[in-house]
Symmetry: C2
Subunit: 142 residues, 2 copies
């Protein structure tokens, strides 16, 4: 796997796991749906979360913008295992063109936003990736 | 989903994603195979990793033992999405009965360790879970 292939597999992933760090130094981890736009990973949270994991990730990113995202595929045939990790810097965009772009790309990637999702959406979470890492049996990378 | 069901789904997961935090305050994220033993999540790394993500997770845990683990299932039917997160404290066991137990349970859960894996294994990574969190359409939790 080279970086081009790593980015392709990441972009095609249907779910990523996003790790942030709390002010207590503990990691926080949630699955997200996302779209890759160049080196930006775009996602969006529900409108006005008052509690729970959505609010937690926003607070964490505001206090510590370091974010790691992982796309991987588990197979029982271990020789086919692979993962791609994106390390980056997160920010929250309450409104504006980047949020509009997130909605455009997410709606294009996931029919569910149109067909199965009636909740109003809120801020975009944008991760600017500064490092791609990947692993498969072709060889590990940090 | 109640805590008993959350633990059951977590234990039956074939892969978890493990987040640790580096000394630079950035999260690190890898998929792991694991076994749940009471409130301990047991996994094992390759023998003598000299570089790469396996060594990174060991160094992170030694410097900051906070660990988050996530088991989730992505479905295109979003009404079936769920996840279970285990927050805990990690330690590395180079040898001894806990490492022996990890090997016993991992070999029992994953045939692949017997049939498809020829690499020597090294230290056990043990996460003592102090908080279980879960989410499904039945309702969110932090």
């Amino acid at each position: 796997m080279d970086e081009q292939e790593a980015r392709r597999r990441f972009a095609e992933g249907r779910v990523a796991r996003m790790a942030t760090v709390g002010s207590d130094g503990a990691p926080h981890l949630v699955p997200i749906v996302f779209a890759l736009d160049g080196d930006d990973v775009l996602s969006i949270v529900d409108a006005k979360p008052k509690r729970g994991p959505e609010l937690k990730r926003l607070r964490n990113i505001e206090a510590n913008p370091n974010v790691a995202l992982l796309v991987d595929e588990y197979r029982e045939e271990w020789e086919r295992l692979w993962w791609v990790r994106a390390d980056g810097t997160g920010r929250v965009e309450e409104e504006g063109p980047t949020r509009d772009r997130a909605i455009e790309l997410l709606w294009a990637k996931y029919d569910q936003y149109r067909t199965a999702w009636s909740e109003p959406v809120g801020a975009a979470v944008v991760i600017s990736v500064h490092r791609w890492r990947w692993w498969s049996l072709a060889g590990p990378q940090a």
